[in-house]
């Protein structure tokens, strides 16, 4: 091998050159997380100036609680969008999982313990999505239609189950563990311990990666950039823990959401399966010719979407301590899909990150929360939420068009 080409590859190792290349990438349509950061700053400035409680520690903890269910379901949507499919049934699928779990938990009837009822609820949601995935892959019906039909049918199932087993249409959850998922908080010290652990692991992995690539003669990101990124993320984490601790503390559910984010990011970026997911979304024909079982990847992704819907449904049920006839309704479906798209996952497949579920949910939930704080009526809230989603989709469409035009 020649040294010459390695020198070429070393070019991005200085900070200045790295930043220049990022700038070129942004100008040619690879926006990364730039729009979302601009959006979040705008939200903080606008709602913070209009309403003094928006930026309070109490509301910050509220946001962490409100975000968790939406972000959890949105992780599944990110995977679905990565393979260029859509799942419009996740909202009511999440409700079915939650209702099944709740029914199994009812004291004495049958009075299952949480560690049996929760997995069954998750399994039901997973299975329902897999069934829809089978129709999509075997019968080649667009997922849009299959899951739209599924959504309607599952909304009926929720209605049937909740009215069958209660006269008022509301079934309460009394299991302490399940209620605790979204209603308990980590002791102050645990917030710090977990954050320190996460930072230590991140630093260890990044430095090992850096040395490993260096040792084998491959290009590395400039150390200054890695340190700045890790430092910024640690600072944000430290501020979040500190600020939450001045109020009720870090919610337990935030830890669960964090675990989901880390695990599914790992699967998407570090495993063979994740690579195949991106390939199926980018060019299914190339994936098929490369010997990838495209139908199996699609089915697995539907299973992930169903599982995460079930998990999100259980989180929502825990927060409300009940399920009801309207569980899974309202704009839950719109919110979770919007979260994934606003976070930067492309509707056209193959582009996006698991973390966009978190960032998007943060935007959509804080807009919602901010408007609630201002006492705006529902009509105005719907209009504004719709406009935010439209803006995000436009950014996606324009940046993909720009990437094609500039050949990136």
């Amino acid at each position: 091998m020649s040294d010459q080409s390695f020198q070429l590859d070393r070019s991005a190792e200085t900070t200045g050159e790295y930043l220049r290349q990022r700038w070129v990438a942004i100008r040619s349509g690879d926006l990364g997380s730039v729009p979302i950061i601009i959006g979040l700053v705008a939200i903080i400035v606008i709602f913070g100036s209009l309403n003094s409680t928006f930026l309070s520690a109490g509301n910050f903890v509220n946001l962490m609680l409100q975000i968790s269910g939406t972000a959890t379901i949105a992780i599944g949507i990110v995977y679905i969008l990565l393979i260029a499919e859509i799942d419009l049934s996740v909202a009511f699928n999440s409700a079915v999982g939650a209702v099944v779990m709740t029914l199994l938990l009812r004291p004495g009837d049958p009075g299952w313990p949480w560690f049996a009822a929760v997995p069954v609820g998750l399994a039901v949601s997973t299975l329902l999505s897999v069934l829809m995935g089978v129709v999509v892959t075997r019968a080649s019906v667009p997922s849009f239609v299959v899951t739209l039909a599924g959504n309607l049918a599952l909304s009926g199932v929720v209605l049937l189950l909740t009215t069958q087993f209660s006269t008022a249409g509301t079934i309460t959850i009394s299991d302490k563990v399940v209620v605790g998922i979204a209603n308990s908080f980590l002791p102050d010290i645990w917030g710090w311990v977990l954050l320190a652990g996460a930072v230590a692991v991140a630093v260890y992995l990044e430095s090992r990666r850096f040395q490993n690539r260096r040792a084998r003669g491959l290009s590395v990101k400039p150390a200054s950039v890695i340190i700045t990124q890790l430092g910024a993320l640690s600072a944000i984490g430290a501020f979040a823990v500190y600020y939450a601790n001045t109020n009720r503390g870090v919610p337990t559910v935030t830890l669960i959401l964090g675990a989901f984010l880390v695990f599914w990011s790992f699967v998407a970026t570090k495993t063979r399966f994740g690579r195949h997911v991106y390939a199926v979304g980018g060019n299914p024909e190339a994936a098929r010719r490369a010997g990838i079982n495209v139908a199996r990847v699609r089915l697995a992704v539907f299973a992930i979407a169903g599982f995460m819907a079930g998990a999100g449904g259980i989180i929502f049920a825990s927060r409300l301590r009940s399920v009801a006839t309207n569980t899974g309704g309202g704009n839950l479906l719109l919110n979770v899909i919007a979260a994934a798209v606003i976070g930067g996952t492309s509707l056209f497949g193959g582009r996006g990150k698991v973390s966009s579920a978190l960032l998007g949910a943060l935007v959509i939930t804080s807009v919602d929360n901010g408007m609630d704080g201002l006492g705006l009526n529902s009509g105005i809230k719907f209009v504004i939420t719709g406009l935010v989603l439209l803006g995000a989709v436009l950014v996606d469409a324009l940046s993909s068009r720009k990437s094609r035009a500039s050949g990136r």
Binding site: M1, D9, R216, G282, N283, E285, R289, A290
Partner: protein, 256 residues
């Protein structure tokens, strides 16, 4: 160049319903040789290479590879022998980077985790050995590459798996002058490394530049094989348009 053919196919025939796509075609490729396969549309070029690639089986005929009689029924059989095909549409995933594309479907792993460092190194080594030096980074999504670079990546992908015979389907059809140059140089280097190369092209200019031999198909039959050095474009064009057929379609069949 040795005299034992890398690939030696005899009497290949294939019919699709009433259409005789290939009739009694003999075709061989020597190691280190570029054998150009030419012919008008419908001459049977695609049928021939798809059969060799295992997309479908021939009705009749025998194929030997490296002197041994083989049967190729699936693309996997072809890959196991060391036959790789680079199709015209390249089959690259635009959203993935160069390394990911080169290892697509054959990713290396340590336990569960992708061996990114190992794959990147191997990809670089393969690209460097083919003197593909115009790539700024192997971590760029292929959507950002030029047509010639994409073709180079697709060829490197085919070469990386210890392949012995590389079949290129119209590799220069969509390329500009400079990029065509780049790809033709690459084709020559493949042959210099001792690989057998089958080059399908409509561009006789390109063919006369890199091919050692030129095999002409017409209406599913092999009409001529030329040594490049002993022929000229007129002769090849004549063979393509009016080469002598063993049997004439529509006429009563004569015993071949």
């Amino acid at each position: 160049m040795t005299d034992t053919p890398l690939l030696d196919a005899r009497g290949l025939s294939k019919t699709f319903g009433a259409v005789r796509a290939l009739y009694q075609v003999d075709f061989d490729v020597l190691p280190g040789e570029v054998n150009a396969l030419v012919g008008d549309n419908g001459a049977g070029k695609s049928t021939l290479i798809k059969g060799l690639a295992g997309i479908y089986s021939f009705d009749h005929g025998e194929v030997s590879f490296e002197g041994r009689s083989v049967s190729i029924h699936t693309p996997r059989d072809a890959a196991a022998l060391g036959i790789e095909v680079v199709y015209q549409d390249l089959a690259l995933a635009d959203n993935l980077d160069v390394v990911a594309n080169m290892f697509l479907g054959r990713e290396r792993v340590n336990g569960f985790i992708l061996d990114e460092v190992g794959m990147e190194r191997s990809a670089r080594e393969t690209l460097d050995s083919l003197a593909v030096t115009t790539l700024q980074s192997v971590r760029l999504p292929v959507a950002g590459l030029s047509g010639g670079q994409r073709q180079s990546v697709a060829v490197a992908k085919a070469v990386m798996w210890n392949s012995k015979l590389v079949i290129l389907d119209e590799p220069t059809a969509a390329l500009g002058v400079a990029q065509t140059r780049q790809v033709l140089d690459l084709v020559k280097r493949l042959a210099d490394r001792g690989l057998g190369v089958v080059l399908i092209s409509h561009n006789l200019h390109d063919i006369f530049e890199v091919a050692d031999r030129i095999t002409v198909l017409r209406l599913g039959q092999k009409v001529s094989v030329f040594q490049r050095k002993e022929t000229n474009q007129q002769e090849v064009v004549h063979a393509i348009t009016a080469g002598k057929l063993v049997i004439v379609p529509g006429m009563a069949e004569v015993d071949a």
